[in-house]
Symmetry: C2
Subunit: 257 residues, 2 copies
């Protein structure tokens, strides 16, 4: 998984992020959360077709939680055909089969298809909260995207569907970099440091009378196994040795020295 420090090296093409088209969306909360989901994954072009009960809507900016730039840039169209007019390739999200002879993609497959069309203007259509897209609206799209939801509970919230598409687009386009990396960046401690640590630990446990005599070596080896699994770095070994030193001193003097 690439980290953000690799981003400049990637030389990603500009202008291929798909437009998100909401057809007759109703709830301010859903539109606002759609804007937020888009911003989370680097999408910014929002098109609204004939929003129900007017536009702009009360409460939509709060629901966008700071992604108001997406709302401010949103374009409103009276019909689906007008919203799609300039696009070269269009995907329609549907939960149910529509009896149309269309390719059906998972979100991952759909976004791979998008990234295979550099320079084309792409749109992804999302339907009304309750009834989705009409069959006629679906017939204006090239292909369908559907979500691999549980058949026991298939109804995805509108903004959550947008989130999944944005997330998969970001992955497919090579931009899905994690903001930070883990400890794997630091190499494990040298064998010398580890063996020295084993020695100090076993000496301390011997002095504490911890080992039952007949089991001493077996238990010591089990503990070495545990320490191996800790995959200690040099710093970890120093920390552990510092703790052992304090404990060993306290055992000799009978208290914190």
């Amino acid at each position: 998984m690439a980290r953000e420090s690799d981003e400049k090296a990637l030389e990603l093409p500009a202008g291929i992020a798909p437009a998100v088209i909401l057809v007759e969306p109703q709830l301010a909360e859903n539109i606002g959360m759609t804007a937020r989901a888009m911003a989370n994954f680097g999408l910014s072009e929002l098109r609204l077709v004939n929003p129900k009960n007017g536009w702009p809507k009360k409460g939509v900016r709060e629901a966008a939680s700071g992604a108001t730039h997406v709302l401010d840039g949103a374009t409103v169209f009276p019909t689906v055909a007008e919203a799609l007019a300039d696009l070269n390739f269009v995907l329609a999200t549907t939960a149910r089969e529509r009896g149309q002879m269309k390719r059906v993609f998972s979100p991952e497959e759909g976004m791979a298809e998008v990234c295979a069309r550099p320079g084309q203007r792409i749109g992804v259509m999302f339907g009304r909260e309750r009834v989705g897209l009409s069959n006629d609206e679906v017939s204006l799209a090239d292909a369908i995207v559907t979500f691999p939801v549980s058949p026991d509970f298939p109804s995805l919230n509108l903004a959550q569907a947008v989130l999944l598409v944005g997330y998969e687009w970001r992955r497919a386009s090579g931009r899905a970099l994690l903001p930070f990396a883990g400890e794997m960046q630091t190499p494990p401690a040298s064998r010398e440091a580890l063996i020295a640590l084993f020695g100090k630990l076993e000496a301390a446990l011997d002095a504490a009378g911890f080992y039952p005599p007949e089991k001493r070596d077996g238990i010591a080896r089990n503990m070495r196994d545990m320490l191996h699994r800790m995959a200690m770095t040099e710093q970890d070994v120093r920390t552990f040795q510092g703790a052992l030193k304090a404990v060993s001193r306290a055992m000799k003097t009978g208290g914190a020295g």
Copy 2:
């Protein structure tokens, strides 16, 4: 991408779905939408640690949009340690680096790790809406999951973070089947049917005087290219031929026959 008809053949192991642990969640809407997101991807074990401003909360059932079975089954704990007690492997979701020497996974990598631990009880922790998890809480986890969000807008809504983890778990565990397939299931029309269609189309266009004489063959071949790209099935060819027949008849008789 496997379709749901393959599901029985998969013989998926039971009991490996991770528990979702929300630490001091505040908004009813977020908890309800978390339950919905979990149900969408087949997660059902929700654990709430010390929900802010009490539990149950007004409005949480509405926000769950039918996923109330997840809410009804949710367990409430006073502390994180108690919520995690019975788990064998724990992931903590964080947006920022925490200065801890932990493995950091993308959601995809984290869920692959979960699926590599069949039979283990797994939990994924999600923090407070505003401030996330504390460093001490993160220190109780084995590893971190972070999301490949845009650095320009990294703040993911709590329920949306849960959705992404559920989605990636479903994919990693081989359950991410699409509810329906596309037209690829039907083979293309035979060459014989296609060639017959070319003949009928070209005869109709000849009769209509469509082709400029010196360009006739070139245009006819371009149209054959377009028809190839349509990837017509036998049924498509019959439909097209029916349309041609009606048009050809009307051209002879001067109107709809």
